[in-house]
Symmetry: D2
Subunit: 415 residues, 4 copies
């Protein structure tokens, strides 16, 4: 997405405005067509440019009201920060799909970031979240809050806790480290198996694996190492492309695996191809049994709110039962985090999260066929007919004591 590089800077008659944006609009094409009909010229295929043109064509004054005016036309997920010559304006969509937090540096400067770990890095203190539907205007007179368009029930992206955020972040008011540790504990409780060692798919599976190991009372070891290493020279990817579902080359540690019954914990399964390679790696390195535990429910529907998921056709959990996936991957048993358990864990706040990728029920209906823009995937958006499959797990058939397979994720069917 070379042309769509952040941050954008637009030159308006009243001055230059820089914008950073995280999310995805579901009415992008409709808005772009409307703007082009009225004479706007687009240089990129990014959501951000739509916002910039909406601001330019707004008849409202002053500038931050133009932003409000523009945002009222947007549908979908967006967290945005605007920088003008004398103001910093932060906006979060009414559903609050993407996180956005406010911090303060020791010199009093207000900063915004997606994750609190970014605040830590620049030694800023976390102050509070930007609320769903809130517009925050920061200038020399301080911070002023405006209501964009409140929404009774936020729909925060659960995948921030499963995969995106770093474990040292606090996202949507919860510790990511704790979420993942508990995901692992739940897996150990609901899908236990006799094993000698617990390992993780690094880095995103590590905390859940530690939770599993602790709960199961089995030692955690470094059975897989991320290998950015060739000979004596490090070949680090100059830019880690954060493609969801793609993982770096992994190297197994024979010493840890040889002759062992191994539980391997990963954060999620997208297409299933990586999992399949990992199981083969572990078996070739001598693992006697490989039991895969996934610290999220099965993904059955493509995301329309900013997560770079492939189309539904490519999602393995959309095409196969848990037992079929287990067979495809080649592991001895496979279990996902049950969606019910996930919701129970979230408790009161459960209703404030978006589970569209697990259920196919979209809080904001995707009205347009997903069009392939640079760096995107094509999708026909027809997820309506899919039956929702809550997390489930299945034992390999050769393990006779795990005959009953719960396709609907009823964990109680185990043993």
């Amino acid at each position: 997405m070379l042309k769509n590089v952040q941050p954008f800077v637009a030159g308006y008659r009243f001055g230059s405005v820089g914008v950073a944006h995280n999310g995805n609009l579901v009415n992008y094409m409709k808005l772009r067509a409307m703007l082009e009909d009225n004479g706007s010229i687009f240089n990129t295929s990014s959501d951000t440019e739509v916002v910039l043109h909406l601001i330019a064509t707004s008849k409202t004054r002053p500038f931050f009201l133009r932003i409000v005016d523009a945002c009222e036309k947007l549908e979908g997920a967006y967290s945005m920060v605007f920088l003008t010559e004398d103001k910093l304006v932060a906006v979060r969509d009414p559903y609050g799909f993407r996180p956005l937090v406010m911090g303060r540096r020791s010199n009093g400067a207000v900063v915004f970031a997606s994750e609190t770990c970014a605040l830590d890095l620049i030694e800023a203190t976390y102050e509070r979240e930007v609320y769903p539907g809130e517009v925050l205007v920061v200038d020399k007179d301080g911070v002023q809050s405006l209501c964009l368009m409140p929404h009774p029930e936020p729909k925060q992206c659960i995948f921030e806790h499963i995969y995106f955020s770093l474990p040292n972040s606090v996202v949507f008011g919860r510790s990511v480290y704790e979420s993942r540790h508990v995901f692992g504990e739940i897996l150990a409780t609901e899908a236990p198996v006799d094993c000698d060692v617990v390992i993780a798919v690094p880095d995103s599976g590590v905390v859940a694996a530690l939770g599993y190991a602790e709960k199961a009372g089995v030692p955690f070891q470094q059975g897989l190492i991320r290998s950015h290493y060739v000979g004596r020279t490090f070949i680090e990817p100059s830019q880690k492309i954060r493609d969801f579902g793609v993982k770096l080359k992994l190297s197994p540690v024979r010493r840890v695996l040889e002759g062992k019954r191994v539980v391997v914990v990963d954060d999620s399964i997208v297409r299933g191809t990586t999992s399949s390679k990992i199981v083969r790696l572990l078996k070739e390195a001598g693992a006697k049994e490989v039991h895969m535990r996934i610290a999220s429910p099965p993904i059955i529907a493509s995301c329309y709110y900013g997560v770079d998921t492939p189309s539904s056709e490519e999602l393995i959990s959309n095409r196969m039962s848990v037992e079929e996936i287990r067979e495809f991957i080649g592991c001895d048993s496979l279990a996902f985090l049950p969606l019910d358990s996930l919701k129970k864990l979230l408790g009161e706040e459960s209703k404030d999260f978006c589970y569209a990728c697990f259920s196919g029920k979209y809080p904001v209906q995707p009205k347009e066929i997903k069009v392939k823009r640079v760096g995107d995937f094509v999708d026909d958006g027809l997820n309506g007919s899919l039956e929702s499959i809550d997390g489930g797990w299945v034992q390999a058939p050769q393990n006779q004591d795990a005959q009953k397979v719960s396709e609907a994720g009823k964990l109680s069917s185990l043993t």
Copy 2:
């Protein structure tokens, strides 16, 4: 060391030769001066160029005998691989300071690498080590072994097991993972402490920390995260500079540390400044107590055989007692791996390793003042008068039951 980038390629009258080199010569300056007096022109300050000129000026024939001729003039640590148009030649110095292994790809091609993990990455099978003092010539007729200059007792670098090699490598015939795990177990046995959680300084301290946690029966957690992360964008160092003693920015995980008595395991202490920062980080993130455990003995002498250590003056263990270091670092207790325990662990092979950095006793005497070349440290090489300190540890004075401090590393003096 921009100008000294590997591999070197030299154009000789008889063809081009590429060279990769790992190690450090102790008679570099003498050899360079001798060569320049005879008309050789140097483009870099690397050991490799000395070798290339020695080969060029050798009167011996054929090519691999020129290499032998050249190597007989070298003193110090070197593992080298030469590539000519029809031959691959691998050489390891008589002491075998640096590792060098031979592997074979599925198509029969012979490959050489420092670590076995590099063989894994290119899917080659480990065959055997290149022996100290051995010259291996590979061509279409197969592999031929020549004896360069045998040495009764190898002096393999123990730091390969402590820090350099990846845990999935087998180095000098031993699993690096197992070495580090046992280092951690020894620390848990010889320098135990009441604690709630064991964490590691990533990445090199992780395996020893797992060993410590397992032996101590205390959960291991990810209390420190390597932070190559700013906001939503990854800023990965385009080239990780493998400066010994320098670590990437680390972020603490408050959830793991808050109110806890923490054991933190690191691989070694060089100048002590990083350890000091880590302790402060952990305490600021809420750790009630911080107990540092180091999975190697104290480093008191600079290395002359290829490890990029600072001069002895800068080595904290050369200047301070263990108790003074503990105070400098600010932790509640500090313990190193005792050198005796390390040797006992190595058993029979103990005598085949070099411990110069822990003892100041150099197997090949450094004859020259270390001269600052690009990327190197200056050192006067005068370590003779230092008293050797085997690993020791010390409890913070406020812990009244740990009054007696063993400067000589007598672990039995604890409580």
Copy 3:
């Protein structure tokens, strides 16, 4: 003008359009303000972008009518070529300030260029000029001509013949080579002087100098060489910036100049600083006398139609009499091409040319204060009060037979 590099490409809803533009709008700022008020976002400060936005906001259909619609709002000088996926559209402003010709390649392809010499280079045959106020639409059905807005009297830029075009071009139906040769002949007739050699300021003065030499019967020599040469290596400017009035470093040829009475012919004088340096160069190289002859009338007013002239304040002919200029420059005599002679030479077509830079009478009134855009000059546009000075010349006072100076360009006042 890095950001304003040609050609521009705009992505419209109906497809991409590339544009090349030559000229200058006098109502740029008014149009830009109007467009920005309606929500257009500008990325550059070029006239071209104004045109692109006017096309985007036009409600007319189809595309070439949008162009007509846009052009009807433009005031000033413009020759433009648009390339869409299936059409090539060429437009020339109603006054025809800038040249624009149509050619045809041997394969039948229609091409447009400013000068015929560009057609020669790509081996295209000159067909005809695009007429002032004409819109030419080229597609698979052939060439179609539309009338934009005819103008009874074209106002073609006379400077194309004086400086801009290459001598091998035919511009506005006349040979540039012949124009310049005759300019030189007129100077030799109307401002003769005893001399030993005629030289040119290369490259633009060469043809006029040849005309002068031939008419005067005095040998032409290469007395000045454009020096893009240092030592044995050529340092060619990677991009010759065609700043009007700026010339490359020139080197004198002593052999040609020493002890000689020299006539040096240049195309024009803008600020006078370059002429002053040239006279000094020639004298230092031994010239006994230096007589400067300028193959254009004095420039007294800034151009608003695309020629990159400085503001009137910086034009030496606007501030000084011919005699004062001669003194400032330091030459022994100085003569300009009289405007009357120039007009007489053009004959019937004389009324079809713009002489605003020589007279201050603008065919299209500049309505805006010239605003400093990237690469432009600031000008207040107040040239109305200037008295027009036709070409004149003056002999240095020491030449007693040339006392009477004609400020109004009455050449008859000579001797």
Copy 4:
């Protein structure tokens, strides 16, 4: 010649030395082989590196005597300047093939250059030539002259006056402008023809064309223009490659040529292909007759002393008679500058020049087969059997009054 880029810098034990070199060694391969046998490693295929290694292996002291020692081993053409930390050393080979001049800046700094025009550009004053076989050492104590190896008769390259040097230079004590002007005058005298206009092949033929025009009393015009011009944008070659015999794209000026009998003057003919294209260009632009006059004798032998000539096989004058060349080129008459006339013009100094390319008689015998190095031509060096052809000319057969053709260059045979 990317790898052989000037200036070279070598790091010696006693310091760094920068070198610039102009010329060509005839014993390069012998010297390189000798040096490589003794252990020198070469990075490039340039003459300069041979010199640097000879300096490095010299046992003489101090540095400038090492240079003398090295130069005594060189055979061929070289002008070199060395820069050490405290000295500037200039050397010219005993035959003085290539020019080398010393100048002084107004601050007293001594500078060296190939041509005096380079001195002009940096505003240095020409002081004197470096003599053939001279070594000049410049340091804080002033300029010291040493005799390298005197030679009774210098052999200066006549092509400096014909093509290489700029007309405003003084080379080997003679004005290049005057040389070329006289070459043209001689051609007008010895090979006259009825014509309407004299034109030049720019840039190197201009001065000779002016000489011809003046002597013949026929007007000189700009009939060919160097075209680095496309449309309104200049496309200047970022680096003019000074390949001998290659010329930039030329554009004819129809106005000058149409219906005219044209004399076109060029500096030399190498392969004949460019001349052939020029004649076709001129005829297509309407020239009635094209008479080519070449301001140098026919080139029949490849140069071994630094001029980048193709092999003898590719030299058209080596393969064809003047009449055959005329026919190949397609002009109506053709004449070269007779070698005798050239020598007569040089008078006393005639014996101090090298005419090897016109005669095949080499002052320093080329001992080696010319080997293709980067940027060079291959040549077998077998020029010994070629008969020398002094300049001659020939009229086209259709011009009945020019029947008698002098193959041996007897100009008197004309008419």
